[in-house]
Amino acid sequence: MRYLALACAAAVAALALNAAQAQGETAPRTAPRTGQTAPELQRGKAVFAHWCAPCHATGAGLAGTMSLEAKYDGSVPAALEDRTDLQPAVIGYFVRTGVAWMPPFRPTEISDDDLAALSAYLSAPLADRGAHAPLLADEMVRARGSEQ
């Protein structure tokens, strides 16, 4: 009897939780953006870094970025910080009601003022947003700098 080592996506997905996920799932990386963030957008960027980046940053293997890549198939950027079509009302809707397995976020987590700042950041011109928000761990690694 000969078995073929097929990488059947459906079966692998079905077994993802019992066999532990294989690594290697990657979302397309967005070209790094440089530059300073406009002062009036700093608070919104900090909100994004704290609450959104863990799933929606530009790095590989993040659930939110991977999901949006699959959903839009490249017709819009997978990373939220690269989107130019997001309006504050849409951002507010998704934050407070969630979507798919993204849960809603409560005002004790993202206050209404923070939500307004976040919306301003994600709807500002790209040039004003400055560099992408880092993942917390990456930020901490960089902060350690020469300690490595």
Partner: protein, 537 residues
């Protein structure tokens, strides 16, 4: 869907809310359908059905004094409170309560890292502190400490440990409740109590000796409805100097027995951290013929599985080891582990993996350079919180059943067969239990397996299947001595029912305690299957 607290009318509810506003300020009280939407369990398999549990309001105190005042107000009005810390208990109920109309006591605003002691390796935190927050505090202060975090990392040390959640580093830190040391609790009458050495005025060992003197009630507050935990201490792992990994594979199905025994010895001796078991044969699951074999009723024989492995040129099992410590001792531990296993299991192969000093670099955290295909989530293994593992979620979420089983291959194979056969009643669900289903070595001294069927907000038929499968899985597992370790409110009574030794004396004991200190059920009635007299009927 707007609901009222039990036994309270609209006018009484309005008065109650007004008193809450007086205690915490009008900005920190919410009610009404729109404001309460984020307090629903978005992973609920009974989403939009009559079984879904809805809170009537939410209140967010800023400090322990406000928690006490809220509890006293709730006691006067006989309104159940449902405490949450960060509210991210997804798969186990999220922020939703056991009792319809409960008021969520949202502790997210209480987010102070009160103390981190590097030399004595502990932290004292409030409920709203997330793993991200604690990690950031440690990093920004340059402290040589490691947090054992679950995945995802947006939950809180207090919430996760009170759920008896688990992590991924060394054995005694993976059991998050076991790694706690000292707590402060607001009791159902509003009094503030401290456990262990926290009860001794002037003590400086609250986070170092958990017991103090006399009975230690700390366990009552984990998965229990006896108080609101407002502070909690945690033992932290001194940041290891070095990390080393490696993989050992064994050829035959029956070799798993010896492999497990060796891993148990290595873990119990403190020589290794969390391990990931796996099977190279998982690569064959896309082949319908092999899939049929692996999910065969009654389970395949060892000979059938060995023949399949041999034909594919694959080993049957592997285990990924992770070792922490000084560089020299990690190398010695790896050499010892591989020598021990290879000398006992013919045909076993050891492959040395990545090794590097800690803290890790970005690339090391990404775990892309192993000389073998790795299942290790490096960030969580190194105590770096992330949401990377969130990508395992399918559809709109899932619910989890994680039966506890002995650390033996015999038990693993039996659970594969028994629950695999039982779940054939639900053919539209993935075959979570099959001949390759691996145990998870999360808790210090037991294995668990995972059953986590998905939910879909717009597919009640699918959700009904998930719901029925969950209940059946709990029941069938219990018939074989396997119990769940943690459950969403909608399953807590089912799970509690299975812990029925001596006519449910454990639950009756808890009920006696509940009746004595909280007869009206102010604190999370029903949590952990413990109901006060008021709600038992």
């Amino acid at each position: 869907m707007s609901v009222l607290p039990p036994d309270l009318d609209e006018a009484g509810f309005a008065t109650f809310l007004e008193q809450l506003r007086g205690a915490v300020g009008a900005d920190w009280v919410w009610s009404g359908e729109a404001d309460m939407f984020p307090y629903r369990d978005s992973f609920s398999p009974v989403w939009n059905t009559g079984e879904e549990r809805h809170a009537s309001a939410a209140v967010a105190p800023a400090d322990v004094e406000q928690v006490s005042e809220i509890v006293r107000i709730a006691r006067r009005h006989r309104v159940p409170l449902f405490p949450i810390s960060t509210g991210k208990n997804f798969g186990y109920g999220g922020p939703s309560p056991n009792v319809n109309g409960s008021v969520v006591l949202d502790l997210k605003r209480m987010n102070r890292v009160i103390e981190i002691n590097e030399a004595r390796a502990y932290a004292l935190v409030e409920p709203g502190v997330s793993y991200f927050d604690l990690y950031r505090e440690i990093q920004e202060r340059g402290l040589k400490l490691m947090v054992d975090c679950p995945d995802p990392g947006w939950g809180s040390p207090i919430g996760n440990s009170l759920e008896r959640g688990v992590g991924y580093t060394m054995p005694h830190f993976r059991d998050h409740f076991g790694a706690h040391c000292g707590m402060e609790v607001v009791l159902p009458d509003g009094e503030v109590m401290r456990t262990g050495m926290g009860a001794l005025p002037g003590s400086d060992t609250w986070q170092e000796y958990p017991y103090g003197f006399g009975p230690d009630p700390a366990g009552l507050f984990a998965q229990g409805p006896f108080g609101v935990v407002t502070k909690m201490g945690f033992r932290l792992l001194p940041l290891p100097e070095y990390y080393r990994s490696g993989m050992i594979s064994v050829p035959r199905r029956a070799d798993f027995a010896k492999l497990v025994d060796h891993v148990n010895y290595l873990s119990d001796s403190g020589l290794i951290g969390e391990v990931e078991f796996g099977s190279p044969l998982s690569a064959l699951m896309g082949d319908p013929q092999f899939l049929a074999l692996a999910t065969k009723t009654g389970g395949p024989s060892n000979a059938e599985m060995d023949a399949a492995a041999e034909a594919a040129g694959l080993h049957s099992w592997h285990v990924e080891l992770q070792i922490f410590g000084p560089e020299a001792t990690t190398l010695a531990n790896w050499n010892y582990a591989s020598d021990r296993i290879l000398s006992d299991i013919p045909g076993a192969i050891a492959i040395a993996g990545d090794h590097f000093p800690l803290p890790a670099t970005d690339d090391q955290l990404d775990n892309q350079t192993q000389p073998y295909r790795s299942s290790i989530k490096r960030r969580r293994s190194l105590g770096v919180p992330s949401l990377g593992a969130w990508k395992i979620v399918r559809d709109d979420g899932h619910v989890g059943f994680f039966p506890v089983l002995p650390r033996t291959a015999e038990a693993v194979f039996e659970m594969q067969r028994v629950l695999g056969d039982a779940m054939k009643e639900f053919p539209t669900l993935p075959p979570f239990f099959n001949a390759l289903t691996m145990p998870l070595f999360w808790h210090t001294h037991t294995f668990q397996m995972v059953f986590a069927p998905s939910i879909k907000h717009d597919d009640p038929a699918h959700n009904a299947i998930t719901h029925a499968a969950m209940k059946k899985c709990v029941a069938v597992a219990a018939q074989h001595g396997w119990g769940d370790y943690r459950a969403a409110p909608i399953y807590q009574d089912d799970v509690s029912d299975t812990y029925g030794f001596n006519n449910h004396i454990l639950r009756r004991f808890h009920e006696q305690l509940k009746d004595a200190i909280d007869p009206d059920g102010i604190i999370a009635p029903g949590r952990g299957g413990v109901w006060p007299r008021r709600f038992r009927s």
